[in-house]
């Protein structure tokens, strides 16, 4: 993104003080700043992530052998649910205070703004989840060989989850009971990421070559990067219009 100043102020001496960001940086910086000021939004999905993973030993069996078997799936399912949990708030506050209207009326490309918002969301949920995942891996007795697979698959998979989830968030932003609905709309679409993500971890544990899994996760991410912002933008325009 270019960071040019589109409308040079007449008094050029002031320029340095009032640097204007491009739409991408503007949106990204704002969203990061917003969640820095409201820290609970940042921490809640992480706590949820930890809790879900704790439920499995308690609910099924604390046997290390069993947990090691299910760990790849459990960590991935927990990450998926934690992402989903944080999805509802992605556009909701913008919708409620009118900033979403201003975004849609902005002459800046909506694609970029949406991409920036999703990137901010990922940096605040997907990335921390990925960094926290090895801890869960240890708690669930995931063999050490699987850790690299776990982190890299989450790194490649969680942005896709954010992108796809944002479509659901955009479709339900005007609705009062959007939260449950998002899960209904988005979970079936998460299945491919879940399958290849957990399979990559499994593969890492058993020592299989992982290139193929990462290639597929990367391909899904690229497809998501190209297509999802279009769908999100269209969905936002429809939701705000209604």
């Amino acid at each position: 993104m270019s960071d040019t100043v589109p409308n040079q102020p007449a008094d050029s001496g002031m320029v340095s003080e009032y640097k204007v960001d491009g739409p991408f940086w503007g949106a990204l910086k704002r969203d990061l700043l917003l969640s820095y000021r409201r820290k609970s939004d940042l921490v809640n999905p992480l706590i949820f992530f930890l809790m879900v993973a704790t439920l499995f030993p308690l609910g099924v069996s604390p046997d290390p052998g069993f947990l090691a078997d299910v760990a790849p799936g459990v960590v991935w399912v927990a990450a998926l649910l934690a992402t989903l949990l944080s999805m509802d708030s992605l556009f909701r506050s913008d919708f409620e205070d009118g900033t979403l209207e201003q975004i849609l009326l902005s002459p800046q490309p909506l694609y970029m703004v949406v991409l920036a918002k999703v990137l901010a969301h990922w940096m605040l949920t997907g990335l921390p989840l990925t960094l926290l995942a090895p801890l869960l891996g240890v708690m669930l007795f995931l063999p050490a060989d699987g850790m690299s697979g776990l982190v890299i698959s989450l790194l490649l998979g969680t942005p896709t989850l954010s992108l796809v989830g944002a479509i659901g968030a955009a479709l339900t932003v005007g609705l009062r009971k959007g939260g449950v609905l998002i899960s209904l709309l988005v979970l079936p679409l998460y299945i491919p990421v879940l399958i290849f993500g957990s399979a990559a971890v499994q593969g890492a544990v058993t020592g299989l070559p992982l290139g193929g899994y990462f290639a597929i996760l990367g391909a899904m991410l690229s497809l998501g990067l190209v297509m999802a912002p279009l769908a999100i933008g269209a969905a936002l325009r429809i939701s705000v219009s209604g």
């Binding site: 007449a10 209207e101 201003q102 009326l105 002459p107 800046q108």
Partner: protein, 212 residues
């Protein structure tokens, strides 16, 4: 006769089983202030949302400088300043941060006048306090500060004077009149009696409502 700035042809809109307006035709030219009037529920906000391009639940045509709105959406958005029911102010950000974000979204906003604008809306001294510590009126004034910063020719203002005191309203009226004088166009709704008198054209939606 030059092409009108904004031309509305055969606008039809229904909401919740009710026809808000049909066969609505009007033009707005440079230098004009148009006040949309009507009772509650007559569709003022809906009309402004349609004109701004937010709502697409209508039939009919809207032309911006002779071009259909669908064909010049980009151009139109660059020329538009919209002030909606919700002021579009983030509560956890400061007025300054909010306006900085506006500037990144809107090239027509000139940040060089930022301090001046905040002073004009009576927020000097509050530039760097989070907006949730400010009153509702002050929050709306943060958004209204855009009027002092923007070089967009078309202003669409939906109830801009809600929660604004008398002096503030008078100042905004002066600003609106000045904008019109410089060749700008303003479309607004308000419950306030405006002192601008004969400079304003009025469009009453009550007479337009009908049933199929």
């Amino acid at each position: 006769m030059p092409t009108p700035r904004l031309k509305i042809e055969n606008l039809f809109c229904e909401r919740d089983d009710r026809v808000l307006f049909e066969s609505l035709n009007f033009e707005v030219n440079a230098g004009e202030v148009l006040q949309v009037e009507g009772q509650n529920g007559s569709g003022k906000t809906t009309l402004l949302r349609i004109l701004s391009g937010l709502s697409r639940h209508f039939e009919g045509d809207i032309y911006w400088q002779g071009e259909s709105l669908d064909d010049c959406a980009q151009d139109y958005r660059e020329s538009l300043l919209y002030f909606g029911h919700q002021p579009g102010v983030k509560a956890v950000l400061t007025p300054r941060e909010n306006l900085h974000w506006y500037a990144s979204m809107h090239p027509a906003i000139d940040l060089a006048k930022l301090d001046y604008a905040l002073e004009k809306v009576g927020l000097s001294g509050y530039e760097d306090s989070a907006c949730h510590t400010l009153s509702a009126g002050q929050n709306r004034r943060v958004s209204l500060a855009r009027l002092y910063l923007s070089s967009a020719p078309l202003w669409i203002l939906d109830e801009p004077f809600t929660a604004i005191d008398k002096r503030g309203v008078a100042e905004k009226e002066v600003l609106i009149a000045a904008h019109a004088e410089q060749g700008g166009t303003v479309i607004l709704t308000t419950h306030h009696e405006l002192a601008m008198g004969d400079k304003i054209r009025r469009l009453n939606l009550d007479q337009l409502a009908g049933t199929l």
